[in-house]
């Protein structure tokens, strides 16, 4: 029999198991605990190299066979699915009822819900719709005891018990293997539009202030340094999603407001063009370059941070401007290092994470940013909930 295997950050080969049921997964966890090995849950394997290298031998658990829709009462605007479902299948299921989950996940044909939850993936729409923490109302996961545990429920309002949904979202799979989630969903908006404009570096702050204060209500404001227009430094994208009449009013309003603003090449896209544009903006944050840094800071600092990155050679920047989140992609380890140095030494609020870099460099870089005064408590939570360090050992906090 050919046992599939997998390398994670050059560690391995890790044998890949693809459990056909939660019961089988529970058995794998018990076995791993008994033999002091680690469990590395994997989904669509689109972001496998996010995080620190594994520190324990163990097995990769491919969750993609656990991909069923458990319950979809559309008029309750909730859906319960297994975590191995791909984002594409989830969105297709919802689309049949005119609904969707308004959280952007790149590579949605491969990416699974469980993986997206573990890494708390988001995209341009987070400005208007929030992130996974706003949508997960129930969760199940397998613990270090090999039990499947649940929290929350299937109703949109529920305060019984601790909110383990929040705990699992963004925990990088270190607190258990997510098996199932219940999500709040929304009706798909009637219309979409994206306005694109260009501006010079010196004007970016002014333009973003204008977009913050616009009478329109954008659901996304992204900024990108990847511009082909001569003389312009930054591309800015402003998206609207609403009733058709509301979207048209917002386009007209913003275009009017921009008339005397220091911007050029203002264009509007509508309908499927706008939807494709939003998909492309979402894909722009996927870690595909050799080095990628994600920085988070006050939204009012976006222009200043963009200017800093612009001065580094060979970095392409994409930012969710009104959220204060920026992705810097580069081929240059030196530029990444300079960015890290700035953020490490900065006394300004905010933080960063290196989402992608060669494994050899990971050991010498602060992959998960500058520890805040809550880092000890996080470590303690991890130690209390996974004392044997079974789940994704090493990937979030190193040698716990």
């Amino acid at each position: 029999m050919n046992q599939e295997s997998l390398l994670i950050d050059d560690v391995g080969p890790l044998p890949v198991h693809r459990p056909s049921s939660v019961a089988v997964l529970c058995g794998l966890v018990r076995e791993a605990v008994a033999t002091a090995r680690g469990i590395y849950p994997v989904g669509g394997r689109t972001m496998l190299d996010v995080g620190l290298p594994p520190i324990k031998p163990g097995l990769a658990v491919d969750m993609t066979a656990l991909n069923q829709v458990i319950d979809y009462p559309a008029r309750d605007m909730t859906i319960t699915v297994q975590a191995g479902i791909t984002m594409a299948k989830l969105q297709d299921t919802l689309a049949k009822e005119g609904q969707w989950l308004p959280v952007d996940v790149p590579n949605l044909e491969q990416a699974t819900l469980g993986g997206a939850l573990a890494l708390n993936i988001s995209g341009p729409r987070r400005f208007g719709y929030g992130t996974f923490r706003d949508y997960v109302i129930g969760i199940s996961f397998v613990t270090d005891d090999g039990d499947e545990v649940k929290a929350g429920g299937r109703v949109v309002k529920n305060v019984a018990g601790y909110d383990l949904m929040k705990l699992q979202v963004g925990a990088v799979g270190t607190l258990g293997a997510i098996t199932q989630a219940t999500l709040k969903v929304k009706p798909k908006p009637e219309a979409s539009a994206v306005i694109r404009l260009h501006c010079a570096a010196a004007e970016l702050g002014k333009v973003l202030d204008l977009l913050h204060a616009t009478r329109a209500r954008p659901i996304a404001v992204d900024v990108s340094s990847d511009t082909s227009v001569l003389g312009a430094d930054w591309s800015v994208w402003v998206a609207f999603e609403e009733k058709a009449a509301t979207v048209e009013w917002q386009i007209a309003t913003l275009l009017e407001e921009l008339k005397h603003a220091p911007v050029t090449d203002v264009t509007a896209e509508r309908g499927t063009d706008a939807e494709s544009r939003l998909k492309a903006l979402s894909a722009a944050t996927a870690p595909t370059w050799p080095f990628e840094l994600k920085a988070n800071f006050r939204p009012s600092q976006t222009a200043a941070v963009c200017r800093f990155f612009q001065d580094l050679p060979g970095i392409v920047v994409h930012a969710h401007a009104l959220n204060g989140i920026l992705y810097g992609h580069t081929n240059s380890g030196e530029s990444l290092k300079r960015a890290v140095d700035l953020f490490s030494g900065s006394s300004a609020e905010g933080n960063f994470a290196i989402r992608r870099c060669p494994v050899a460099v990971k050991k010498s870089l602060p992959v998960w940013g500058r520890p805040g005064n809550d880092r000890d408590l996080m470590r303690h939570v991890k130690q209390t909930l996974d004392p044997k360090n079974v789940f994704n050992p090493g990937r979030l906090f190193g040698d716990l």
Binding site: V149, K157, V159, Y162, L164, P187, N373
Partner: protein, 492 residues
């Protein structure tokens, strides 16, 4: 009138605990007399009563640190409290100890519109923040009906809801950071004005933990832009069924209103007697239907809602034509509970169940049956769009037979909520009131894992003891908090 200041009592035999608390925060910030402490023995309404040994009023994070460190040293339990408007006994200090009353930490520390957040101390009253934000065109979205009294700290503890959660979410969706004093006195800052900090979302877990993780001493809240416009409609229905069907049809049409609130006939009678709003007293139910957002396209959306309501049997759909009319309608809704006295019953008890919103017709019929079966008068006013019911059971608590029937009816309703796939609390919390339901909602493994999480924050269970989980580790055991009367439960 009682004085907050009492002379140093060392000469009068003050306990070491009281003496210590006076040393820590000053005698003027400590209450000890039985008369003063009585006000802190329970919260809003349906609770156990336990007198704390002492009530202290910290004025700063440093004060809280000193208080909890002293409690650790003296091995005394403690509990933080806001305005005490909670409805499930969350403010009862089970077994006694130090009540940390946060009412004097009431400053709004910062409002930052460009970065869309405010920093507040936990004792800030919910509506103060909304008022402070008025000039900016922003608001703090969670607006529980008790917002005139309840505090942001209390809202964080219970993850409060309110009428606008259908579209805007509950408290946790608007809390981006907290400063937490752990039971051992360490101060931890989780989250803050910058989104997506690496690591666990501890803020998200702390919200709704009913004070069992520590004392929240500072809160970063997300600010939301005000809707540009509203359309507030009042659907008048002959039956509750027609009203709840309307809700499903509105949602099915892809419309997410800002609020969908239902009042049944009995409730209408009380509210009308109090406010003379002009509600039709012969209606089976009315539904407040509010859509909000940008003006462009809103009228069409309101017309769609009106058409749906009429198609579902509304005999009339009224409109609030002015902001004053809208505010009057909301005042009637938010103060509905206060009018129940007009129905002629000496006592009432409110429940807080949730069902999937499409199951509303079933649970409403069930409540009617329960009312008949147990011979208990019930009226309803609730967040219909969320499926969050608030049946109000009315009785005379001097009659033990009525009391028993109210208890049986309440349990009957909550059990049905579970059976229909819902929960026993949408926004009031487990507190001590619903401890025994936890084992019905969750498996022993689920509760054991949650207790492990509590252990990470609060290993000695010194902070807010006796909450959320049935006691003594046995998940199927009785909680030990005995229910003798609805609204009067003796903690043992």
């Amino acid at each position: 009138m009682t004085s907050l200041y009492e002379p140093p009592a060392s000469a009068h035999g003050a306990t070491p605990l009281v003496a210590r608390m006076r040393a820590v925060v000053g005698a003027e910030n400590v209450l000890t007399s039985p008369a003063d402490i009585t006000a802190y023995e329970c919260d809003g309404f349906t609770i156990a009563k336990t007198k704390p040994d002492v009530v202290v009023f910290p004025r700063s994070t440093e004060d809280i640190v000193a208080i909890v460190k002293a409690c650790a040293e003296l091995d005394v339990k403690f509990l933080a409290r806001g305005a005490g408007t909670s409805l499930a006994g969350g403010c009862v200090l089970v077994g006694g100890g130090v009540m940390i009353a946060l009412a004097r930490m009431k400053r709004i520390l910062e409002v930052n519109i460009r970065d869309r957040y405010a920093i507040v101390e936990p004792g800030v009253v919910n509506v103060w923040l909304t008022n402070a934000l008025k000039p900016f065109g922003y608001h703090y979205a969670p607006d529980p009906s008790s917002q005139g009294a309840c505090t942001i700290g209390g809202n964080v503890a219970t993850n409060s809801g309110g009428p606008h959660t259908l579209k805007y979410g509950v408290t946790v969706n608007h809390i981006i950071g907290v400063e937490l004093v752990l039971p051992d006195g360490r101060v931890v800052t989780c989250g803050g004005p910058c989104e997506d900090s690496p690591g666990f979302d501890l803020t998200g877990c702390i919200v709704g933990s009913e004070g069992t993780f520590g004392v929240v001493s500072k809160v970063w809240v997300r600010l939301t832009r005000n809707p540009e416009a509203y359309r507030t409609l009042l659907g008048v229905f002959n039956t509750v069924d027609d009203a709840t069907n309307t809700i499903s049809e509105i949602i099915g049409a892809g419309i997410v209103p800002g609020a969908l609130e239902l009042l049944d006939q009995t409730m209408l009678g009380a509210v009308e007697a109090a406010f003379k709003f002009g509600f039709p007293l012969d209606a089976g139910a009315v539904l407040i239907m509010e859509v909000d957002g940008l003006e462009a396209g809103l009228q069409e959306e309101a017309e769609r809602v009106e058409a749906i309501a009429k198609r579902c049997g509304a005999r009339e759909v009224r409109k609030a034509n002015t902001d004053a009319e809208r505010m009057a309608l909301w005042k009637a809704r938010k103060q509905a509970f206060g009018t129940i006295g007009r129905l002629g019953y000496p006592s009432y008890c409110t429940q807080d169940g949730v069902v999937p919103r499409t199951k509303l017709p079933l649970i409403m019929r069930h409540i009617q049956e329960v009312s008949k079966k147990h011979r208990v008068a019930v009226c309803n006013v609730f967040h219909a769009g969320d499926g969050n019911i608030h049946p109000i059971l009315m009785f005379d608590e001097r009659d033990p037979d009525q009391v028993q029937r109210v208890l049986d009816a309440s349990h009957d309703i909550l059990d049905e909520c579970i059976r229909l796939g819902g929960s026993v609390t949408g926004e009031h919390g487990i507190g001590v009131e619903k401890l025994d339901f936890m084992a019905k909602l969750f498996a022993p493994e689920d509760l054991a894992f949650m207790k492990r999480l509590r252990h990470a924050f609060n290993p000695d269970n010194r902070c807010s003891p006796g909450k959320l989980f049935p006691t003594a580790g046995g998940c199927t055991e009785h909680s030990g908090v005995h229910q003798t009367k609805p609204g009067r439960r003796a903690a043992v």
